[in-house]
Symmetry: C2
Subunit: 226 residues, 2 copies
């Protein structure tokens, strides 16, 4: 059976789990702790990072960027990139926006500081969260929520009329920040309405059921009518 | 005519210029200074970032990730991703390695600190380069050069037997660090030999001719027998 090595709270792992379910492709999820640098994971991906997909025929596809494109090439049903060049360009621009810019502006500042830093055992005498980074992350997320609201004010989904990998990438990143309780939904009605629509998709449910030892998401986190 | 909005010293802009030339696609290069946040560039790409490709039919493709995939889909001649799923997965894994990991580990620490920070007018009282970041960048680059040497010890090019977008992404990143004089080639013979082969390709020549006001690359920079 197809296997996905993933870290349940990592946005890029989440986006591949959602994509696989949207495409109705069965897989066995294998939980990894990338900071432990397990030999078996390093053999599959020399960077030691998740996600890594292993197909039944032995094909290894490492990293969300490569897996995302591979799944669209290999399995044409339920396409998530868009059908023409303009739609595909827009979907990929937005994937890069969320897995690039959002990840640097927000996820690095909040998820990294509040949780990953501890798991990776990073930092010297000041191993606690950096308050400057957390302030920056909380300010930056508002720009991204405004941008999502602006987009869905003009389109049904982020990249256009169709649900796409752009929605999946954005929602996967946001879901992790929401787990930390750091998404100011109340000030961003358009983004909130879009996220509620993503959350209600069956592909998203398993994501919302995951928790991490010693942490607890806010009450609204898995609530579909939050 | 096809146009490419680019910033001549940016690794991701360089990689698209090289890809276009490898595919023998003519284009007009339009120099941008992304830190000026020019309205015309923001209309093409809301992130304000280069590169942005504008096709003759008006199609806009924003960001190196989207342009790289678009060019391979739209123009089948001179393919640079690989022909089967395994080759394409390996090429994309390595693009992500160099435009992701290398960029964070090395380019952010050296190019950002030494040049971009000044151009973007970032930083408060301490606007100079952060010496800790520069030390980290100089240490990290050795791991990446070792990895390149390891790969080309086993393969003709980075992703396998064929010249690919992986070579282009890696060489584009390295070319900018080499411009700063921060690549310790003398300790990494395998990587140096591979880079000399990339440098000698006609697609790479225009890159090496670019300079930036107030800066000067080291004498070996544009030398094909460095």
């Amino acid at each position: 059976m197809r296997a996905l090595h993933h870290f349940s709270l990592q946005p890029r792992s989440r986006r591949i789990r959602i994509q696989l379910r949207e495409k109705k492709l069965d897989f066995e999820p294998l939980a990894e702790r990338p900071w432990e640098r397990r030999d078996g994971l390093l053999r599959l991906n020399p960077s030691g990072e998740t996600p890594v997909l292993v197909e039944e025929n032995g094909l290894v596809v490492a990293g969300a960027a490569a897996i995302g494109e591979y799944l669209e090439e290999a399995y044409e049903e339920n396409p998530l990139l868009g059908r023409d060049a303009a739609a595909r360009a827009e979907t990929r621009r937005l994937i890069d926006w969320f897995d690039g810019k959002f990840e640097r502006d927000v996820t690095q500042n909040l998820f990294h500081e509040k949780l990953l830093k501890r798991l990776y055992g990073l930092g010297g005498p000041d191993t606690g969260p950096n308050s400057g980074a957390i302030r920056a992350g909380k300010a930056n997320i508002r720009i991204h929520l405004d941008y999502i609201s602006w987009l869905v004010d003009r389109r049904n989904w982020l990249a256009g009329a169709f649900f796409s990998l752009a929605d999946i990438a954005a929602a996967a990143q946001l879901s992790v920040i929401d787990y930390l309780g750091d998404v100011p939904w109340e000030d961003h009605a358009g983004a909130k309405d879009w996220y509620a629509r993503v959350k209600s998709r069956p592909s998203f449910r398993p994501i919302l059921a995951d928790t991490w030892p010693g942490t607890q998401p806010p009450p609204h986190y898995a609530d579909l009518d939050f």
